[in-house]
Amino acid sequence: MNQNLKKIPLFNLHEKLGAKFIEFANFLMPIYYTSIKDEHLAVRERVGIFDVSHMGEIKILGKDAKKFANYILTNNIEKTNFGDVKYSVMLNENGGIVDDLFSYTISDDEILLVVNASNIEKDYNHIKKYLWDGLNLTNESDKTVEFAVQGPKAQELLQNFTNFNLDKIKYFKFDYINIFDENMLISRTGYTGEDGFEIYMNKEIGEMVFNKILNKGKDYDIRVCGLGARDTLRFEVCYWLYGNDIDETINPIESGQKFLVDINKENFLGKDSLIKIISEGVKRKFVGIEVLGGIGRHGYKILDKNKNEIGFISSGNYSFVLNKSFSLGYVNLPHGEIGEEVIITDGKREFSGKIVKKPFLKPRVKKEE
């Protein structure tokens, strides 16, 4: 085993809960406890709890922290206030995606960025490189634990622990609330396509909080969920996975993330490149494919009907709700029309596929009207 692997703070608890572990982003992470399918369906039908403490927390502190965040991120952070969460991408100067992340606006002078585990160091260095004078950057990842409580019963479960009416926290909003006599940050966000919350706290109280939620969760037939279900859940609703679906060689126009870019902002990192990309037009497109007879996985090739290579698969998985196999991937334009028939191959096996609409399953998050 890799000696440099980091243990997540609650490793021993997960081991006790029967987790099977895999290496992920230098962490030894639980992949599943009962089975990926069982955990997946628990989140779609009831509630699941994920320990996502591997995620990174980076804070920008000081005067004009919000303005700076607005500069390094593509979404409009300038207009946000306390309690707002924004999903953004962060670009390099060429318009390539350095990471996709959530920003939490705590005040004009304090912004929390929640970043992908595999990108913590890279993001920190990237932000540091562009950091304005007078601002401070802190990496809080090692002292923070994060749990995601997801599913149609998530709110009901968490409401047991607080007098604060959780209805007040709308989709993509957060607040600090008191649970178990501890102050914690809680947002109505997630990576599953279900209603639910993400909760951040100091690692010292992590195990206590996790156990309390889990014990009460038994009333709702809760499942502890691993990275396996996290991936199948996000995949079904076509949420991007950094490192698979997006990376620095891909820009947000190709990846279908233009909605995360406020191109009218005065200035932001990567803006010039992105304007050029938009005016010249992109050469490939991010598509969903229904696959027959197997799973078209990351790295498999996409061929047209005449077996010419036209693209690659970025993610592939099985939908436990739709009982079908799907892939996400990039095809060279003008390919990529809905209904187009394609072939997916790993070089040995070939599966037939058809380009279909995304998302495969509609997210059931509680968006505000």
């Binding site: 599943y32 990926i36 007879g293 197997g294 799973i295 996985r297 998985n317 099985y318 790993d346 096996r349």
Partner: protein, 126 residues
């Protein structure tokens, strides 16, 4: 502890073989189904096809991985478990029973001596 059934033959790639007269039934072991996790695809073997011992006959696929099923013995595919093709989850649920994969008309029973018995296999996958 993984379940192992007495009276069957086993090979290192985690398939089992049950022999009745000249017919062999092939499946994957409890160890294999557990390692694969939720199985979602089973390729349909071609009836009438001759396979050699050790050949990759069909592929089986879980959410986590795709794997080849190697024939433990040489012979002609004589029957396919269509229920398992249509509902591969039964391989997870009952790998030694309802989740069998295909049957084969055994060409040469001498090949059985290369396979493990239940005791050796459980030692191997202890």
């Amino acid at each position: 502890m993984y379940r192992v059934v007495e009276g069957l033959f086993y090979q290192k790639t985690d398939e089992w073989l049950k022999v009745e007269d000249d017919t062999g039934t092939v499946g994957i072991t409890d160890y294999a189904q557990d390692k694969l996790g939720d199985i979602v695809f089973l390729e349909e073997a071609k009836i009438g096809k001759f396979v050699n011992k050790g050949d990759a006959v069909i592929s089986i696929e879980s959410v986590k991985a795709a794997a080849d099923i190697h024939s433990p013995i040489s012979g002609e595919i004589s029957e396919v478990n269509l229920e398992a093709v249509q509902n591969p989850q039964i391989i997870n649920e009952d790998p030694f029973g309802k989740g069998w994969l295909f049957k084969i008309k055994i060409k040469n029973k001498d090949e059985l001596k290369d396979l493990m018995d239940a005791k050796s296999y459980s030692e191997y996958r202890k």
